[in-house]
């Protein structure tokens, strides 16, 4: 894996993690997109250094790049694209029904908070 790919994947992953930890749903979705990109880059980098195109036209046998991980990346891109679109639709529905984009505390947090209020 080349340094540039590793570095780019690291930066994307860091930024994505930061965004996922935010409270706004739209930022979380952008963060997920960045993490998916980082994953795709790592997958691409796992094929080793780039070479000539994998399809040998003139019968020459030399360094050529590995086609398999490109096929894997394509599949992964399609899948993450579909699910991100679905998630955006969900976020839109949740926004139209609740009027806010913020992620609330989960059920257990709310129960504990209620219990504390009831006691005081």
């Amino acid at each position: 894996m080349t340094w540039t790919i590793a570095l780019a994947a690291g930066i994307l992953f860091g930024a994505g993690t930061y965004l996922i930890l935010q409270r706004l749903l739209s930022r979380i979705i952008v963060g997920l997109g960045l993490i998916a990109h980082a994953a795709n880059l790592i997958l691409l980098g796992s094929g080793g250094a780039p070479g000539a195109p994998p399809v040998l036209e003139d019968g020459s046998v030399g360094p050529y790049s590995d086609p398999l991980e490109q096929a894997l990346v394509l599949t992964a891109i399609v899948i993450t694209f579909g699910i991100t679109a679905f998630l955006l639709a969900l976020a839109y529905r949740s926004w139209t029904e609740q009027g806010s984009d913020e992620v609330e505390d989960d059920t257990e947090d709310q129960r504990i908070a209620r219990r504390r209020e009831a006691r005081s």
Binding site: L44, G45, S46, E69, I79, I83, F86, L90, S94, T107
Partner: protein, 490 residues
Amino acid sequence: MTALATLPVVIPLLAGALTLVVGRRVALQRGISLVASAGSVVVAAILLFIVDTQGAISVSVGGWAPPIGIQLVADRFSVLLLLVSTVALFAVLSYAVSHQATDEGFRGFHAVYQILGAGVALALLTGDLFTLFVAFEIMLTASYVLLTHAADGRQTRTAITYVVIGLVASALFLITIGLIYGVAGSVNLADLSGRLDNVDPGLRRGLGWMLFMVFGIKAAIFPLFFWLPDSYPVAPTPVTALFAGLLTKIGVYAIIRTQTLLFPSEGLSPFMLAIAGLTMIVGVLGAIAQTDIKRILSFHIVSQIGYMIMGLGFGTAAGVAAAIVFIVHQIIVKASLFLVGGLVEESEGTGAIDAVSGVARRSPIIAALFLPAALSLAGFPPFSGFVGKLALVEAGFAAGAWLIVGVSLVASVLTLFSMTKIWAGVFWGTPNTNERRITPWGMAGATAALIAVSLVVAIVAEPLVGYAGRAAEDLLAAPDTVALVEGRTP
């Protein structure tokens, strides 16, 4: 004959497409869906017989030779879980069909349901790490749709958590696949098990733990389970029952498959056993704190996953065999308990323990269905939970892991306590309403059938344990017995 191994994936996909073609005719959709699910059960049973008597079946789907192309491998472990999963899918589908609301308001229900079934079958049958990723995505995407289609605003928000967790886990899975491909140059599981021998042992162990974590999120093991109890109860009952019975167990299947094949055990794994113990105890304590049937049961899913990880953590064939028996028991019992919870909600209007009372007097049938399933979950003889737990305890003693066995027994007692909490709160007492509600007979019938299956699991305990032992030996055997060639391997 080898083409038979592709049918569990092909049948549901074709049936799902067909239900969309027939459009709005719900009766026709139901017929197609039920026939396809029943057909999958039959195919899985035939596969089980063939694989057990004649050895594993391996099919190269795309026509490419094994290490490059996509392979389906039906061995003892995958075929057993395939049979149990298809039975659970069929029973839950019958319940959903009787529960009119599930599919009448949602034209795509049967299509999505069948696609989920295809994803489960593909995850169980694939012999390829990347196809496993694709299978998980098929399964999870279908589950996202089932979870959210009827959700209101608040439920949508909860479901979003589930989707986000799923996406993060998928990205981590993809990264792990990339790293494994980078160091070993293959994604075929059988091929990898040989190639990873040449990889630095520290690197190999690190990759092993990464895969463990990825599947751990999907299986909801100890520090990674928080998404589950919030998201599962949101869905309509048949969907929750299906998720509870199947999805996390497919994660456990993937853990067992990859850990035994790619990262051979070095005996007892203290780290894995610690995770198992914490999963059991934290899950069951969470269940005790809850006051709604479905939320209690959701925490029990987490707790019971710990037992399966414990069996794997022993690092012996007996431990893995016990874990396999326990998975079989859990898929059936967990799904049936959720179906009973749904019956209570259907007949009483809510599943909150404080709001419902005296169901045993109002609808004795529901109480009679709850009791065997609850006792089975707690591990009482003669139910299937006892078979699974006995096998685990025996394997634990044989491996000399006294502490974790003690912890698992404490968790069992706490499970029983939380089941008595449901029993005392919901089923005993005087009914707090005189309003006559109808017992949903069709749904109760489907639930009864699934509970009957769990009783059958207990009755065939002897052959089942023997079969699981053979499956575990296959898993732990030298990798050269794993199917790497087209056709059959003895």
